[in-house]
Amino acid sequence: MERLRWAVRSWQLTAGMWTRSAMAYRASFALMLGANILITSLDFVVVVLMFQHTDRLGGWSLPELGLLYGTSAFALGTADLFVGSVDGLGERIRAGTLDVMLIRPAPALSQACAERFSLRRLGRPTQALVVLIWAASAVRVDWSWDKLLLLAALLVSGTVIFCALFIGGATLQFWWGEAKELQNSFTYGGATLLHYPPTIFAKDLVAGVTFGLPLAFVNWLPLLHILGKPDPLGLPAALQFASPLAAAASVLVAGLLWRAGLRAYRGAGN
């Protein structure tokens, strides 16, 4: 417990340092944040343009898709804000700067996650939240307390699952230094997949995403319950409440991968 608190504290210190340095150029920061919100809005603009030509996609309406989009983009964006920098691992291994992190009296993972921390990454979660609030008010759902609680739980679990994917994906770079972009397939690719209803994808793909990478727990499964839609895979209904468990399992796997990676790491020799 003490070690966890120290890990979080190290993350805060490193992130705080990078924030102070970014705030030295306020105008540049504002411009980049604005551009970030615009860039991340593009994929929802595409969804809206698609709905100019149809009122259902895979049997789902636009506000229902908005819920999928909002939850997925929020979870991805928040995870990217917290730990997204970890994808620079391969570069650090090549340049030998990982060695510097290892000899500092703070966990290397905390440092790697907070290095180059940038508040401009707030763009995606902010924009996602706007879509989410609109979708939640436009969709035909009686928002009872249990459904709101489930929504809150899925946002937190989803963020944790994406954090685990970022870290787990980055550890591949311990063995394969140039594999940075591979991780994008799981994280950004996964989030794009979850913008759309599971009904439009092949069953094997949906099953793979549910059990291989626990992506479906980010939003598909809990939202099926909230919207009262049938599960295209016919999975047990209990899984629709299992997101926190899936999140805990992903963190465990990512942690083990990170340890294995560090053990395999030989150092740059400086």
Binding site: S28, L31, M32, A35, N36, L38, I39, L42, D43, V45, V46, L49, M50, Q52, H53, T54, R56, L57, G58, W176, G177, E178, A179, K180, E181, L182, N184, S185, G189, T192, L193, Y196, I200, F201, A202, L205
Partner: protein, 270 residues
């Protein structure tokens, strides 16, 4: 062969070889393009199932649209990058002043390098995704053999237009010292108006006509439509002319901006 032609060929060949060194990164990138292609192909299938024949594309053409655009994404650098990163780095270090006084033309040097890069990416990151798409998604290959060389010519023109746009963005560095902001804005515009996210024909009236007349349409929309054999032979010629016109105009603008920039450097004393 004149000596300057031999020089540019050597630059292009060197650039090709430079990008081919990063084998693992290329493999990871190919994987990512294929994953995104598959996800987006399913969303297009869902849209065309709801609205068959939308925008004048049959379902096979719509799915192929995704695969061709994924195969071209890196080749025509819709996200920016390529030589742009090198130029930006040279602004940061101040080496840019040296570049302008080299006995080689500044624009010609970077154009040759970018053509080498594009040739490598067309082979490496174009062939696999499109093959995957054809094998698994009932994609539509050109019926006429003649379409292939016309398509390749169109891709070459697309790279020229893309280069000219990125060149202009890079040159803003002479005035702004940091072209990151302009780059971010350019990314939004070029993702949206190139037809990378959605065929331009599906845009609402007004926006559609504007997008089809702007240079970004030359990047993805025009070569992809040629691949899909959407137009008659004479209309395809017109499309090539559209690309050529923008390439010439933008390269001339780049040349003019370069002259202004050079004078500015001289005024400052280099």
């Amino acid at each position: 062969m004149t000596s300057s032609a031999r020089l540019y060929l050597a630059i292009a060949r060197g650039s090709f070889r430079r990008y081919s060194t990063y084998r693992a990164a290329t493999l990871a990138g190919v994987f990512t393009n294929t994953v995104f292609g598959a996800i987006l192909a399913y969303t297009f299938l869902a849209l065309w199932r709801a609205r068959p024949g939308l925008g004048g594309y049959d379902t096979a053409q719509a799915v192929t649209y995704i695969w061709v655009s994924q195969s071209l994404l890196i080749t025509v650098a819709v996200w920016g990058g390529g030589f742009q990163d090198d130029v930006q780095e040279r602004f940061r270090t101040g080496d840019i002043a040296v570049d302008l006084y080299r006995p080689v033309d500044f624009l010609g040097w970077w154009l040759a390098a970018d053509l080498g890069r594009a040739a490598f990416h067309l082979l490496a990151r174009g062939l696999v995704p499109i093959t995957f798409g054809v094998l698994l998604f009932h994609a539509r290959l050109p019926h006429s053999v003649l379409t292939w060389p016309v398509f390749l010519l169109s891709v070459l023109l697309a790279v020229l237009v893309s280069f000219a746009l990125r060149y202009l963005v890079s040159l803003t560095g002479f005035w702004l010292h940091d072209s990151d902001g302009v780059r971010a804005v350019m990314l939004v515009v070029s993702m949206f108006l190139s037809g990378m996210l959605l065929p331009l024909g599906l845009f609402p009236d007004g926006l559609r006509e504007a997008a089809q007349a702007l240079p970004w349409a030359a990047l993805i929309q025009v070569p992809t439509d040629i691949f899909l054999e959407r137009d008659s032979a004479s209309a395809a010629l017109g499309a090539l002319g559209f690309q050529l016109l923008w390439a010439v105009l933008l390269l001339a603008a780049g040349r003019a901006a370069q002259l202004l920039a050079t004078r500015k450097v001289v005024v400052q004393g280099g």
